[in-house]
């Protein structure tokens, strides 16, 4: 490893600099630019192909615990005297609670507390109205049904195409249903540019609201028994996002509340902060002076734990016969229910000449959308990748070549070429729907980007004890992404140890601070701090053992294969740690900007087989190529890529929230009718790490992996069938109806 080698003599001023490539987006067109950063913060990661643990494949340290059921999640917490809480939800999409009669409910034996929800006007069906704490969850459930709520029912609207009408019921008090949020570009220039186009495509694109479907539902256990302190067991993406608000609710000083997150069962953007579930649990715990567990039911999870913003996009683009896109007009509606929704601005990452876009929030009486893995990006990607595909077919240009023509960044070019080889693009019939027989194969592709840079929030301690044990401690949380594992691995590699020789302590707000896991920022925020702490621990230890090794400089001491050596003298690890003081040594690591970067690229190719007599889409193969600087663990990076493809596949073909206009409710709030793909739906999946990315820096990649598959699958369905379905999920009914009448799009 490079950092193990003797360092060159420090050069005098000026400070050494290094160049880092970062993306810069101008008018929707991404460009990579080089910037200079300080390079003197310490040794770097070294070349990506010179690592012993990092950039290798190693299994998760918590894998056996999870596979055997030993891992304890928030859902598994059972404390002595613990009460169970449940939430009463409004059946009305818009109503005012005028009376909450809890007399009968509070008389049920075992019911310990009933509290109202913070708001008395509910704006979506499923909104909380009250919460109950009881000695069993069943009693809590009975109590919910015994609460008599009087509602003043108000008019509601849950479908976007109804909500946009001027006479539609108003969803929010302080904002119109259709609220302009942004305008970019020059409308007149874009309009004029259409005159120079040889062909024009105009279409409306929809993506359904989908759900995170965390296998562990939202919830917390608040352990407060009336004393001076409280502990919160949380299923959260942010260990440090809870105790402050919880302390406020409990009436305790902030440092009296500790949050712990030992294991958590999925968040995907939906689990930050105390949340309503935590707030209610705190209030119930404070009132009863007992530990309270409030975990959402699966129904709760669907109706009131948030969702991915839907989208409705009206796009018009013009193209020249040589493949140059010359103009784009976009009208983008973010469908975020009572929230603001999210949607990346068009033309997303394509270069489209003169562009003009208007972005609106379009409100409905539905639970607010919240962040979900790459918020707003798959929606924008689906629309623009479909549009780009339509343009390519219209001028009879290969969709891969067409993309290269309109993507400036050459990373996409090489990834597109590799993806085309991997999927066997040359086997594809360029005529959409052109294959014979009812089972028709087709292929499609799409590209995606994300930031993935880190920030300065993580404080990491590494302790080496005289017994040889090594502990790395930081309050961060592992969402299932492998945080525990690479935290260990970075330290183990730095100290020349194996991954089993290091233990980690995470998931506790009394440990060193860490950032919440959102925006793919965890690895690029945490790993530099871990690396920094590990380097410093190595130096501290090197100083201690130097007298045993002929007094080398600390940076000249080599840590490798569980030995410590210099000047041709070698100590075993146990011999070396014997030189440490009785208390061992502890180093403190801080974030270093030079160990991380931002700006990633991904490309997805999909092959599907469509039965045009039933509308069934069978995904055959998916290939996703992803860059991301230094992969901390190739195995978990491949898992992230696979996970992104799977979630995108679900969004493409099955998943969608169904709302009834009249009742204003979600009709499929369960795992039966909300159709998450299962094992039988899985295609051959090929996750590829783009090792041509030589950046010696950690970059978050989780969100990049979910973006392009949606468009790739939609385009593959078109290539197979000749039916352009511009609305997700692409279900058999839409394909059959598309085949029956050509209103979806004329067949090519």
């Amino acid at each position: 490893m490079q950092q193990q080698q003797p360092q060159a003599q420090p050069s005098p001023s000026p400070k050494p600099k290094k160049k880092v490539r970062v993306p810069k987006v101008v008018n929707g067109v991404e460009q990579m630019v080089e910037i200079e950063v300080d390079a003197d913060a310490g040794p770097g990661w070294g070349p990506n192909d010179k690592h012993k643990l990092l950039n290798q494949r190693y299994t998760r340290v918590d894998g056996p615990l999870k596979a055997t059921g030993v891992a304890k999640y928030t859902y598994d917490q059972r404390l002595p005297g613990m009460l169970y809480a449940r939430v009463l939800r409004s059946p009305h999409a818009h109503a005012r609670v005028t009376k909450l009669d809890t007399d009968d409910a509070s008389k049920i034996p075992g019911v310990k507390a009933i509290i109202p929800a913070p708001l008395t006007e509910v704006r979506f069906a499923g909104a909380p109205v009250a919460a109950v704490a009881a000695t069993t969850p069943e009693i809590a459930g009975d109590a919910l049904r015994a609460i008599k709520v009087t509602y003043e029912v108000l008019p509601h609207v849950v479908h976007a195409h109804h909500a946009i009408r001027p006479d539609a019921p108003k969803v929010l008090a302080d904002e119109n249903n259709l609220a302009e949020k942004a305008k970019n570009g020059d409308a007149q220039k874009a309009e004029a540019a259409f005159a120079t186009a040889d062909a024009i495509v105009e279409g409306e694109y929809f993506t359904a609201r989908i759900h995170h479907v965390c296998l562990e539902t939202h919830g917390m256990v608040v352990d407060y028994r009336g004393g001076d302190t409280a502990t919160i067991y949380a299923s959260t993406q942010g260990t440090f996002t809870i105790h402050e608000d919880a302390a406020k609710e409990l009436g305790l000083p902030i440092n009296a509340v500790t949050t712990t997150v030992e294991h958590m069962g999925g968040g995907f953007g939906s689990k930050f902060g105390l949340g309503l579930e935590g707030l209610l649990a705190c209030r119930l715990s404070k009132q009863t002076q007992s530990p309270v567990k409030l975990m959402f039911t699966r129904y709760d999870e669907f109706v009131m734990a948030g969702n991915r913003s839907g989208s409705w996009q009206k796009l018009k683009a013009g193209v020249k016969n040589d493949g140059t896109i010359v103009a784009l007009q976009a009208r983008q509606y973010r469908l975020g229910g009572v929230g603001q929704g999210s949607q990346a601005g068009q033309p997303f990452i394509y270069r489209m000449g003169d562009t003009y876009r208007e972005v609106y929030a379009l409100h409905t009486n539905e639970d607010s959308s919240i962040a979900m893995r790459a918020p707003g990006f798959p929606q924008a990607s689906f629309a623009v990748e479909t549009l780009v595909d339509e343009l390519a077919y219209k001028i009879k240009m290969d969709p891969v070549e067409f993309r290269k023509k309109n993507l400036r960044d050459e990373v996409y070019h090489r990834q597109l070429e590799r993806g085309a080889r991997e999927i066997g693009w040359s086997r594809r019939n360029p005529v959409a729907g052109g294959n014979t027989g009812p089972l028709k194969r087709g292929m499609g592709c799409a590209v995606g980007t994300w930031g993935g840079g880190g920030n300065n929030q993580c404080k990491v301690d590494v302790t080496i004890s005289r017994d040889g044990s090594v502990l790395v401690a930081v309050g961060t949380q592992d969402l299932g992404t492998g945080t525990r594992t690479y935290t260990r691995a970075i330290v183990a590699e730095e100290l020349g140890l194996g991954i089993k020789d290091v233990k980690e302590r995470i998931g506790n707000s009394k440990l060193g601070a860490a950032n919440p896991s959102g925006g793919s920022t965890t690895a690029p925020s945490l790993s530099p701090s871990v690396k920094d702490a590990a380097i410093k621990a190595r130096m501290l230890m090197a100083e201690r053992v130097a007298p045993l090794l002929g007094n080398p400089k600390p940076e000249e001491v080599l840590f490798a294969d569980a030995t410590v050596s210099a000047n041709s003298r070698t100590l075993s690890w146990q011999q070396a740690v014997a030189a440490l003081p009785a208390a061992g040594i502890t180093s403190h690591g801080e974030w270093r900007a030079d160990l991380q970067a931002r700006g990633i690229h991904g490309v997805c190719f999909a092959e599907v087989e469509v039965d045009v007599e039933t509308g069934h889409v069978k995904p055959i193969k998916m290939v996703h190529i992803q860059d991301g600087g230094l992969p901390l663990n190739r195995l978990t990076m491949e898992s992230q890529i696979n996970g992104g493809m799977i979630q995108s596949l679900g969004m493409a073909l099955w998943e969608g929230r169904v709302m009834d206009a009249q009742l204003g409710m979600m009709l499929n709030p369960g795992m039966g009718d909300y159709k998450v793909p299962g094992s039988l739906e899985m295609p051959e999946m090929v996750p590829l790490i783009d090792d041509e990315d030589k950046r010696e820096a950690v970059i978050g990649i989780a969100e990049g992996c979910i973006i392009p598959a949606l468009g790739a699958l939609a385009n593959a369905v078109f290539n197979a069938t000749g039916v352009r379905v511009r609305e997700t999920p692409i279900t058999p009914d839409k394909i059959l109806m598309g085949l029956m009448n050509s209103t979806v799009l004329s067949r090519q």
């Binding site: 169904v658 009834d660 409710m665 159709k675 059959l736 109806m737 029956m740």
Partner: protein, 332 residues
């Protein structure tokens, strides 16, 4: 889940008595029998049913046997779906039945769910299943599917309720000419399956079959017939891993010396409130060879009565495809 009394009869007679207590409340509060519980428990959890008493049938001896004789197949109501699927004689002589069972739910559910329970399961319509919605089938005044989100609802035989019958066994058993033995307060009766299921327009709108509250199915009798060997079940699911039928076709045929159809049974699933037999199509195909033209015309006739709702017209070509393919397969 509403609290209920749990009882454990050891005989059919005792079970019928325990089910027969009259309850003043709603029909959905009446005692319910439980076998595998794979559907009943979901309805209890949803408060769609709120029985005051649950009568466990699992301790009744003799209801979990599969008997094969020259006369046919007798399947005890408590036989699990897995047991039926794996039974050697069934696999040999009733291929369509095995395909139908295999298409149901997941291995875990098939390990617990019973044949009797499968026939008696309640509809999957999401309006029916949502606790907050008081639809026609739960004593309300409106079928919300009629003008609502009716993608999965009936295209044939609907009105005033537009549920589809969720059972995969029912269409196949009906095609095979099966009947059920029903025991109630007045003793035993045999009900041919084509008289067992009831349309919302003709039977009790709150129920899907002729069973009275205190009656239970004890066995299913599938007669030996020349069509059984050429039987097949094609089910179309949106999601292969776990799903109910968007449409299905149960077909059984007897072929003549020149491979012409001598006898045909065609029953559609997932498109009507009951398993929907299509005699006109059966009659058309009888006496003919299964040419592509004949298959297409038979499929067209099978769906001639379809009157789709706003969002389920796709079921017509889908079901036609299934009829065509199932007939071709059965006649191959």
């Amino acid at each position: 889940m509403k609290a209920f009394e749990w009882t454990n009869p050891s005989s059919v007679g005792e079970a019928v008595k325990m089910l027969g207590v009259s309850t003043p409340g709603d029909i959905d509060e009446a005692p319910r029998p439980i076998a595998g519980g794979q559907d009943l428990l979901t309805t209890i959890k949803d408060y769609t049913s709120r029985p005051v008493r649950v009568v466990n049938l699992k301790n009744i001896r003799g209801l979990n046997q599969i008997k094969v004789s020259g006369r046919g197949l007798t399947i005890g109501a408590l036989v699990t779906l897995s047991e039926l699927e794996e039974h050697a004689d069934v696999r040999k002589s009733f291929p369509g039945l095995v395909e139908a069972v295999h298409s149901i739910a997941t291995p875990q559910i098939r390990n617990l769910g019973t044949v009797g329970g499968n026939l008696c399961q309640r509809p999957r319509c999401w309006y029916f299943r949502l606790e907050e919605v008081n639809c026609l089938k739960k004593g309300g005044s409106e079928c919300y599917a009629a003008n609502g989100e009716n993608k999965y609802n009936a295209i044939i035989g609907g009105g005033p309720s537009y549920i589809v019958h969720p059972s995969d066994l029912a269409p196949m058993l009906l095609a095979l000419g099966a009947s059920v033995t029903v025991v109630g307060a007045k003793g035993k009766r045999t009900v041919p399956l084509d008289k067992f299921f009831t349309l919302p327009s003709e039977g009790n709108i709150r129920r899907e079959n002729v069973l009275k509250n205190e009656e239970i199915i004890t066995e299913i009798v599938v007669p030996s017939s020349p069509v059984a060997a050429h039987s097949t079940y094609l089910k179309f699911k949106e999601r292969e891993s776990l799903d109910f039928a968007l449409a299905s076709a149960a077909v059984a045929v007897q072929l003549g010396d020149n491979r012409e159809v001598k006898d045909a049974r065609i029953v559609l699933g997932g498109v009507a409130p009951i398993p929907w037999r299509v005699p006109a199509a059966e009659k058309f195909v009888t006496g003919k060879s299964l040419t592509p033209e004949v298959l297409a015309e038979t499929a067209k006739i099978a769906l001639a009565e379809a009157r789709p709702l706003e969002k389920n017209a796709y079921k017509v070509p889908l079901a036609q495809t299934l009829v065509r393919r199932a007939l071709a397969k059965a006649g191959a």
